[in-house]
Structure formats: C-alpha cells, structure tokens
C-alpha cells in the first residue's frame, strides 16, 4: 500500500478486523519492523531512525495505556520527561493537556479512578504533550460512550486545525465520515483512498435502492443475481440494492418481489453511504458489517 498524509489532515483507516490497519500504524510508529517497503515520517525513514521519528509522533494504542497507579499529573509529567518537554513549555503543555482532558483541579486523582471518557482524553493529552507533527490513533474510541466519542472528535478537529496530521483507525462508519480522507484497507492492501464523497462516487457504479420489508432474508434470496441487480446487501432490517438507474429499475424489482409473493413497506432511491462503499469494495462476507 502506498499513501501520503498532509499536515492538518485527518486520514482514516477503515477496514474489517485483521485487515492490517493496526499493523500499518505500528510500522509507521516504528513499533514493528516492515518486512519490506519504506515509510517516512516528516522526511525521516522510520525503519532506519525509529528514535528520531518517535520524537515527532504521538501514539495512542487500542488498549488504554496510561499508568493507572499514577495520578493524572504524574502521568503527564512522566510523558513530558520522556519526550523531553521541560521548563516553561512543560508547564504550558501540562495546562493545555489537563484543560483538554477536562481534568482541571483533578491532577492528583489516580488514573484508575477516572471513567472511560476522561482516561481516553488524558491519553490523548499525553500523546500530544510534545506537540508532535503526526498523531497516530489506533481505535481510540472503542469502548467509549457516544457523547465522549463526540467530544473526542471535537478535540481531534481542533488538533488538526492546529496543523497536526492525524492518522486514525476506526470501526465506526460515522467516524469515518468525519475524516478528510479515508484509506480503505482490506487483506493488507489499500483498497481505496479518497475523501468520503470521492469514495462514494467512484466505488458505487450505479445507484442505490433501499427496500424495507418483513422478510429481508427472502428478498435477498429473490433479488440476488436477478437481471439488472448488481449487488444486494442487508442493512439491519432493510436491503440496499445497487442498480444502474434507480428510477428506471424500480418497477422491475417491485414486479420481481410480487412474483415471489414478498411484501415491502418502503422502497426508494437513497444516496450511498460509506457502508455501501465498504460492502462494495471489501465485499465477500456481507453478513459481517465492519466492526461487528
């Protein structure tokens, strides 16, 4: 896979479990040695000068990874020491991180006593303490409630606004929509790269019809492989059908369903979502939506 990311950009890695999202991030952080190829961070070869690269990056791993037996302030000061942030700059960055995490006046609280959202924002604070040019976030929002997730994304936006390049892996389609560009990764290969709207335009050849009915399984069976239908994928209790022209092909599909004695409550053309793109490009096992 080959790609570049720019300053101030949010690049999302999207793909099924085991596709190689985390592996890619770990190679970029110098945590894993690449079996081949070349990765540069801010113009520095990662495999050759991992230590130099590490001074320029921030990393948040899948698992929560601060010291639970240390307090908020102790964690921040530890990472400050490790990243070589000191003096006035340290004081400023500490204040920034504590503010960002919403932990003002709670510097002495043990991290073990914080709830998920706070821990996660503190981890982000530790990762950006040294003002890295690039921030790698490996599924940072897994296991966090939706409100905290939203707040976390606000922070990511403001960091990107300050010129930080953010590379983030995610399971969630709605999160992927927040990214400037998405790298769709499947089986260790870059399946597609582009902005969410670019991907929707280029990946879906045709238009999408949504059908809702009592027996989506029966409808799936009836529609799959019939003429004019390029693809059928279940989305909850409804189906997304890829056709060349939604308005033109709708009557034929209705006829087909009637022929199979299948009723529907709703049928209408819709705009493609990232999930449609995902199903199109990753294909294969459709029953397994990403992240499930």
């Amino acid at each position: 896979m080959s790609f570049e990311a720019r300053r101030g950009e949010i690049l999302g890695f999207l793909g099924p479990n085991g596709a190689g999202k985390s592996t890619t991030i770990r190679i970029l952080c110098g945590l894993l040695r690449p079996s081949g190829g070349r990765a540069e961070i801010a113009g520095i070869d990662v495999a050759r000068y991992p230590e130099k690269v590490r001074a320029n990056i921030g990393y948040m791993s899948q698992k929560f990874s601060l010291y639970s037996d240390l307090s908020v302030g102790e964690n921040l000061r530890f990472f400050g020491g490790v990243y070589g942030v000191r003096g006035d700059r340290l004081a400023k960055r500490l204040a920034f991180a504590v503010n960002m995490a919403g932990l003002k006046d709670r510097e002495d609280t043990l991290v073990a006593d914080l709830s998920g959202g706070w821990k996660q924002r503190l981890a982000l604070g530790c990762a950006v303490l040294h003002e890295p040019a690039i921030l790698f976030l490996d599924e940072p929002t897994s296991g966090v409630d939706p409100a905290s997730r939203r707040r976390f994304w606000d922070l990511i936006y403001s960091l990107a606004g300050d010129g930080v390049c953010v590379v983030i892996t995610t399971h969630y389609m709605d999160e992927a929509e927040y990214c400037n560009r998405i790298a769709l990764i499947n089986a260790g290969k870059l399946a597609a790269l582009g902005s969410p709207s670019e991907l929707k335009r280029s990946a879906i050849h045709g238009e999408i019809l949504l059908i809702e009915g009592d027996d989506p399984g029966g409808m799936l069976e009836a529609l799959e492989g019939s003429p004019g239908v390029h693809d059928v994928a279940p989305f909850g209790s409804s189906l997304h059908i890829v056709v060349d022209d939604a308005t033109r092909d709708q009557p034929a599909i209705e006829a087909l369903l009637k022929q199979h004695e299948l009723g529907w409550s709703r049928i209408e053309p819709i705009k493609p979502t990232l999930e449609d793109v995902f199903v199109q490009l990753v294909g294969g096992d459709r029953a397994r939506a990403p992240g499930s």
């Binding site: 001074a55 990056i57 990393y59 791993s61 601060l66 037996d69 240390l70 102790e74 530890f78 490790v82």
Partner: protein
C-alpha cells in the same frame, strides 16, 4: 543516552513501587524471612544425635560407657531399651539414629581378655549423618578404652604408653569449625540473588501486561535508557536489603566479620547490578508477570543453592558440574563474601571473582537490551 529520560522513568518507577503494597512486601519481608529460614534452618554441624542404649549387662563398666556417651555433646541418649524389639522400634520410628548395645559379658571380657565388643546399630537413611555419628561413636569408645588401658597400666605400676607422633592442629579462618560462620555469609548471597531477581522480574512484564509498553515504545526512550531508568530505583532498594541482610548476619547471627565495610559494599553493589540485570532480562523476555517471577525464582534458586559452593564444596563436584558452576553468578559473590567475612580479604585479593562479576554485568546488560528490542519486533 538522555539522562532526563532515564530520570523520568526512574521517578515513575519509584512512585509505582511506593504505591504497590505487594511489591513493597516482597522488598521488605522476603529478605527477612529468607535470612531467618536459611540462617536457622541450614546447619551442617551434627550435634545431639538422638541415640538409645541397650545395656544387657548393667555393670559398673557398662554404666561408665553409657556415661561417656551421655557426656558427649554429639549424642543425646533419649531412650534406654530392655530388649532388641524395643530397640528396633526406636530406630524404625525414627526416635533414634543410632543404638548402642552393650553385651552381657562386657565387663567379664574386659577383665579377662582385655578386649570387649560394643555393637552400634545405625540408621543410615541419611548416610552423611550416619557416617559422622559413627565416627563420633568410635572416638567416644576409643577414649573410653584408652582410659581403661591407662588405669590398668597404672594399677600394674607401669607408665601409660607413648604415642610416637601426634598431629597438632591449628585451624585458620573459622577457628571453632562452626559451620554457621561459614553458612551465614552464604545465606546473604542467596537471599540477595533471589530477592534481586524478583525485584526486577516484574518491571517489564508488568508494562506488557497492562499495555503501557506499546505507548512507552512509541516514545523516543531507547532500550538502554529504559533499562537503566528501571534498574536504578531497584538498585537502591536492593542495597537497602543488602545492608539489612548483612546487618542481620553480623549482629544477629554473629558471623565473624574481619574485612572492610567498603570492600563489602563495593562488591555487594556489583553483585546486585548483575542480579537485577538477570531479573530484568527475564522480565524483558517473558511477557507475563507470573511467568517472569516463576522463571526468576527457578533460575536463581537452584543454581545459587546447589552450584555456588554455598553448602556443597565446588572442588568436590565432578568436573563437568564444576565447569557449570563458572556460569553461576552467585558462585563469585559467595567466594567474595566468605573471603571478606572470614579471611578479611581486601579488593586486591578478590580481583578474579570481581572481574568475573564485571563480565557478568556486561553480558547481562547487552542481553537485556537486546531481548527488549526483539520483544518489540
């Protein structure tokens, strides 16, 4: 090498040691317990062997032989038997390690033929104790018969016989031949080897288990900085433990201390670095805390107790085993400690074992940094 990063890691480690009561317990109580267990438990002197006596005669002569056994510090007469059956039960039941049987014609033979037999029955399940008890018994009987001979000659108006050559013994370094004086410094070495490896065995595996290692590895910290930063706090803890153990050895167990405190501290510091390095290496190689702690115990316990010359003299071992002992770090510290305690040796006398420990420290350091790097890949 960035000292600020080393300092940040050391500081973090100190806070963590302080907040983890379990590791604090290990640090403070384990050495104390081991000193007590090994210091009191290991005693190679054989004294007060429990014996029984089956006196089949009950004469004045047999009584005085019994008294000779009673007077010896090596024996404790715990039972007197009336027949062979009860004697057998005493030995079978483990109440006695040895039975002395005085025949019914003991004094008669002594009077008429000037020679009588005494039977000693030994429980040789522990052959070492049995052998030593036999030796002591022989010497008790020999003294007894020498006395009789001397009395007999005296009553005949003759001089006691001359012994042409007599060896005069002068024992150096452990004048009282007390095994404890020799054991206690060794106990300190064992305790330090065990505790030291335990101290650092958890430090890296804990980071792996809690997932903090990934993030730590993504920072500019190098593996050498991490190692030094992590070992440093434990070095001071270890020195505290060492001072603790050495004080117990000198003041509680009253092991003779003839060397200089400086030599003792300098060599102890060196040994501690090796031991902490071993624990760190294990911790970096094995990612689970339980596994690392078990392995650390296994790798230090067996070689240190069996192959360091603690209780079993190395020069008595078969040559292949002797060769293996050169790979046991505590062997060198054991030599150093015993020499400082008993002989009062200085640094100059100990160049060889000190050199060996320096080599150990370097090798362990390189291995530990490399094991950690490999762990990341």
């Amino acid at each position: 090498m960035n000292l600020r990063r080393v300092k940040a890691i050391a500081k973090k480690e100190i806070i963590q040691i302080w907040r983890d009561p379990r590791s604090l317990m290990v640090v403070l109580l384990m050495p104390l317990m081991q000193m007590a267990l090994l210091g009191y438990g290991v005693n190679l002197d054989i004294e007060h062997v429990p014996i029984c006596i089956f006196d089949r005669e009950g004469s004045q002569q047999s009584e005085s032989l019994m008294k000779a056994f009673q007077a010896s510090v090596y024996f404790n007469i715990v039972e007197t038997e009336r027949d062979y059956d009860s004697l057998k039960r005493a030995i079978d039941g483990g109440r006695c390690k040895m039975a002395i049987v005085i025949p019914p014609d003991f004094s008669e033979y002594l009077a008429t033929r000037n020679s009588a037999r005494v039977q000693a029955i030994l429980d040789a399940t522990d052959d070492n104790t049995a052998n030593i008890a036999r030796g002591y018994a022989e010497s008790v009987v020999e003294t007894f018969s020498n006395n009789i001979e001397a009395k007999r000659l005296q009553s005949l108006g003759q001089q006691p016989p001359n012994t042409p050559a007599v060896a005069q013994y002068r024992v150096w370094f452990n004048e009282d031949l007390e095994s404890r004086d020799f054991i206690i410094p060794g106990v300190v070495a064992i305790v330090l080897a065990l505790v030291g490896a335990q101290l650092t065995s958890l430090t890296i595996s804990r980071e792996w288990e809690r997932g903090t290692m990934e993030v730590l590895a993504s920072t500019p910290v190098t593996s050498a900085e991490l190692m030094i930063g992590k070992i440093l706090p434990y070095f001071f803890v270890g020195m505290l433990d060492a001072a603790f153990c050495l004080a117990i050895a000198v003041f509680w167990f009253e092991a003779p201390f003839r060397g200089s405190a400086f030599t003792l501290l300098a060599t102890t510091a060196l040994f501690l670095i090796v031991v902490l390095g071993v624990g760190y290496f294990i911790s970096a190689s094995i990612r689970s805390q339980v596994g690392a702690s078990q392995i650390a115990l296994l790798v230090t316990m067996l070689p240190t107790t069996l192959l360091s010359g603690f209780a079993f003299p190395i020069d008595q071992m078969p040559p292949p085993v002797q060769a293996v002992t050169y790979l046991v770090h505590s062997r060198y510290y054991m030599t150093i400690l015993k020499a400082i305690f008993l002989k009062g040796s200085g640094l100059g006398d100990l160049l060889a074992p000190i050199g060996a420990l320096v080599v150990f420290a370097l090798v362990v350091g390189v291995l530990a940094t490399r094991a950690f790097r490999k762990g990341l890949g």
